[in-house]
């Protein structure tokens, strides 16, 4: 994508260089976003079956005459040639007027607007838990491994990492929700509306599911990154220079070891922010994930395009954020610093 990069002079020190760099990165992501948005338009149309097949009940559908079908298709624009639909779609993306949901009559913007805060609450909480626990365990695991211990933790992590989300969700529902009745299993709020305790209680099981299934690979990633850095030359040399172990780990190991984990977590946030489809569906949590699931099930093109757009935006945005924050953590990737 260097074509859209305005060339910087060799002595790109300080501001002009940095601005060019930022501009270049953002321009790259605009291109990525356009490609992704185009795919969002094409993918729903690649699904077998169309919205008309699921319009109302099958019986009602069967009673529709050919004329009536054509009328519905015209109304929603399905009858137009694909390129006309595409430009209409692009216009709607830019103006954020994403049309009306086919299944419940709300506007797509409205539906997403209602679901988004729930997803952010659920996913935000679980990302914080996953990251903190996963990294802490990974760091400990890496340090223990470098002393020749901790094979058990590795096996444990691989087992936890292989647990399917839907299975864990159902096990939690059966034990904690049904058998011991200590946590609600359904929805995001209790009967008395939005209360802090109600919200927290309803978060317990879905967050537990997302956290437990998410910890494994953050742990494994952090651990192997720790091991790489612990045996790297700069750390070996610092050890030879007499830097004590505690200080060595804090100052010379942690930051380089967490660099790749940082990227991983950023991408994770991007994917999850568009909704945790399985968990939200199992726990009937009213977030974006469940909305997406419903939209796919109903072949609700406008809603699908809308939720996919949010997913795309989030992933691209977090990628960009990871790209832009990385140089803050790793001086080697800073531009304009050549000697």
């Amino acid at each position: 994508m260097s074509a859209i990069q305005t060339s910087a002079p060799d002595t790109s020190l300080g501001r002009p260089g940095r601005v060019t760099y930022l501009g270049g990165r953002v321009a790259e992501y605009v291109v990525v976003l356009f490609v992704a948005v185009t795919l969002n338009f094409l993918l729903p149309r690649a699904l077998p079956g169309g919205p008309l097949k699921l319009f109302g009940s099958p019986e009602a559908l069967a009673r529709l005459t050919a004329e009536e079908r054509a009328q519905i298709a015209t109304e929603y624009g399905f009858g137009d040639p694909v390129h006309v639909q595409f430009f209409a779609y692009l216009r709607s993306v830019v103006t954020l007027d994403l049309g009306t949901s086919l299944s419940d009559g709300r506007t797509v913007t409205e539906a997403i607007g209602e679901a988004l805060p729930w997803t952010l609450l659920l996913v935000g909480t679980s990302i914080v838990c996953t990251t903190l626990i996963g990294i802490a365990l990974g760091v400990i695991g890496g340090l223990r491994r470098s002393e020749g211990k901790g094979a058990g933790t590795l096996i444990g992590a691989i087992v936890v990492d292989s647990i399917p989300q839907f299975w864990l969700a159902m096990v939690l529902i059966v034990w904690f929700g049904v058998k011991w009745q200590v946590a609600p299993t359904f929805g995001a709020t209790g009967p008395d509306g939005v209360t802090v305790t109600g919200l927290a209680q309803h978060l317990v099981l879905p967050v537990a599911t997302l956290t437990i299934t998410g910890i494994g690979y953050i742990f494994l990633y952090t651990r192997s990154s720790m091991l790489n850095v612990l045996t790297s030359e700069p750390v070996q040399h610092a050890h030879a220079r007499g830097i004590p172990r505690g200080r060595l780990v804090r100052r010379h190991v942690l930051r380089p070891a967490l660099l790749p984990v940082h990227t991983l977590i950023m991408l994770d946030i991007g994917f999850l922010a568009a909704g945790a489809i399985v968990v939200e569906t199992v726990f009937a949590y009213p977030g974006l994930g469940r909305l997406t699931f419903g939209a796919i099930a109903a072949r609700d093109y406008p809603l699908m395009q809308g939720t996919f757009l949010v997913l795309t935006l989030m992933v691209v945005l977090m990628n960009l954020l990871a790209d832009l924050t990385y140089p803050l953590l790793d001086p080697r990737t800073r531009t304009g610093g050549e000697s």
Binding site: S2, Q5, S7, A8, P9, D10, S12, G17, E233, P234, Q236, H237, A238, H239, A240, R241, G242, I243, P244, R247, R251, H252, R255, P256, L329, D330, P331, R332, T335, G337, E338, S339
Partner: protein, 571 residues
């Protein structure tokens, strides 16, 4: 006396890496421990600093004395905190990649000062190693190799140690920078132990040499009496194996390679490679005894005055028609934000049976030129012809056909051979690619193997079972197997022990003469080029600054830069 150790022995499992070594470093003295790779010199240095892995067993006695601290019994140290960095300063091997990548130089120096209660200021430490405040605020990746090495030395000085241990402090630096860094270490006035494979390079800077072979001390000798009196044949070999920039001095090589630790010969361990070995050497271990100002462990030291190692042959003086012609080569690398002109109008001709030395320091464009000759890079401007065929204009199948007539020897014999393929399969690969009929493979492989100086018994081995020199010979055999017209050797001996370099040069000379090959020998070592090539082309900043016959360049260089290179490699 700052350091005095006796009977140091290091064992890894059953293998003895360091075998009852005694060593002393006087106040302010620079002692160099030298020898080929695997001789135990690094194990010795690491044992002194408590840096060996847990699997190593160390025994022996050692005392570190100073007028500022109480005597330290090195054998009784349980906890190395407060010793490394404060009593013993370490300059670890590979400073090129050993500084912290995420901290500025100043922060790294401050950390060492804090941890080791140093009283200096970071700026003063940098000044002491010849750097300025500009480097103080730099990150490691913004510094050159020489600057990084200086920072590593400054870090070792932060705790004001009594003893400095520097492990191969010049690896990866070019000749000019090597001299500067060693000169700096020698000028610090601290008792220093330098571990190095480059004995000749240390001659101007070390006070005393401890020559190690296969875990034992072969000789301990002050530098002042190194060029007179009687010495261990191995010491003589190491010095003779360093190519001189004076073409009247012959260049020799020690045949064979150091024995593996689990298969050590009886008696004197050097006997199998020693030209003057007698029966006694193969049965009885020689003791280290006083000879002149030093000590030598050799039964034959009385007769070992003129050892007579095999010399690297010179050119026959005739060279045939041009094989490779490069004219007006210009090449520019482009990236996002910068363009770098690697080559700027270079002409080069190599004839049949001729070895051309392409000399220059890193960044001079010599590797780019070699890649262009191989047809791997298409130059921005200029033409390359091989025999009658144009390389630069060819693409696809025609280019590959031309490329098959060029053999390539890579710099790194450790990375350039697939570890999972046997020697026979490695050498056969160019034949398979060129679709040479199966029936011809065997004969060609055996002929290439013989030309590269390897016994056929190695055909069934894996690269991991070979020494560095043997690996590089496998590379040569692979390059020769499909009867190329041109051989490109990119720093082919730079990663090998000095003792085997002459052997590789001898082999290249014999294939050039016997097979009528044109050879492009890329090197940064002026001495090596002068000793083994017919003509030398000196590159700097992408231009040819001087070209001519080896003898002429050696005795009367015209360009100032050539003279500088000669001075830097002058031993």
């Amino acid at each position: 006396m700052t350091l005095s150790v006796q009977d140091i022995t290091v064992r890894y499992g059953g293998k003895v890496a360091v075998d009852h070594v005694d060593l002393e470093v006087a106040d302010g003295e620079v002692v160099a421990v030298v020898g080929e790779s695997g001789c135990g010199k690094t194990s010795l240095a690491r044992a002194l600093a408590g840096l060996l892995p847990g699997s190593a067993e160390v025994s022996g006695r050692g005392v570190l004395r100073s007028d500022r601290h109480p005597d330290l019994d090195l054998g009784a140290v349980e906890d190395w905190r407060g010793i490394r960095g404060r009593r013993i300063g370490i300059v670890p091997q590979g400073a090129m990649s050993g500084l912290s990548p995420i901290h500025r130089v100043e922060a790294q120096l401050r950390e060492m000062l804090t941890v080791h209660d140093g009283t200096a200021e970071p700026g003063d430490l940098l000044e002491r190693v010849g750097l300025t405040a500009r480097e103080l605020h730099s990150y490691s990746h913004q510094l050159s190799g020489g600057q990084r090495q200086r920072v590593a030395i400054a870090l070792a000085l932060a705790g004001d140690p009594d003893l400095l241990i520097a492990d191969e402090p010049t690896t990866g630096l070019d000749a000019v920078m090597q001299g500067k860094v060693l000169g700096l270490i020698a000028s610090l006035g601290i008792s220093t132990l330098i571990v190095s494979h480059d004995m000749a390079g240390l001659l101007p800077y070390a006070d005393r040499f401890a020559v190690m072979y296969a875990g034992r001390l072969a000789e301990v000798v002050p530098v002042t009496s190194l060029h007179q009196g009687r010495h261990h044949p191995y010491t003589a070999g190491l010095l003779a194996a360093t190519p001189s920039t004076d073409r009247t001095v012959t260049w020799a090589s020690i045949s064979g390679s150091a024995p593996p630790l689990d298969d050590l010969p009886e008696g004197c361990r050097f006997a199998p490679r020693c030209p003057v070995a007698a029966d006694e050497c193969r049965t009885t271990v020689p003791d280290l005894r006083v000879v002149g100002d030093g000590a030598v462990a050799c039964h034959r030291v009385e007769v070992a005055t003129d050892v007579g190692y095999p010399a690297v042959p010179r050119a026959a003086g005739t060279c045939g028609d041009p094989v490779l012609t490069m004219s007006g080569i210009q090449h520019t690398y482009r990236s996002r934000s910068r363009t770098t002109t690697a080559l700027n109008g270079v002409d080069l001709t190599v004839g049949r049976g001729e070895i051309i030395g392409l000399v220059g320091e890193s960044g001079s464009g010599k590797s780019t030129l070699a890649r262009i000759a191989l047809g791997l890079i298409r130059p921005s401007q200029g033409a390359v012809t091989l025999g009658k065929d144009e390389v630069t204009g060819s693409r696809g199948r025609r280019l590959r056909a031309v490329q098959r007539r060029v053999g390539f020897i890579h710099q790194d014999p450790y990375d350039s051979l697939h570890p999972g393929m046997k020697v026979a399969a490695l050498i056969a690969e160019p034949l398979v690619i060129a679709k040479v009929p199966r029936g011809e493979h065997d004969g060609k492989i055996r002929s290439a193997l013989a030309a590269a100086g390897l016994p056929e018994s190695l055909l069934g081995r894996y690269p991991g079972q070979l020494s560095g020199g043997q690996r590089q010979r496998v590379s040569i055999a692979r390059a020769l197997v499909n009867d190329p017209e041109l051989l490109v050797a990119d720093e082919a001996s730079s990663m090998l022990d000095v003792s085997t370099r002459g052997g590789i040069a001898t082999t290249l000379r014999s294939v050039a003469t016997e097979r009528g090959l044109a050879v492009v020998f890329v090197t940064h070592d002026m001495g090596e080029a002068i000793q083994s090539c017919d003509r030398i082309v000196v590159l700097r900043h992408g231009r040819v600054v001087e070209a001519g016959a080896c003898g002429t360049i050696s005795s009367s260089p015209e360009h100032e830069y050539t003279a500088q290179l000669l001075a830097a490699s002058h031993h």
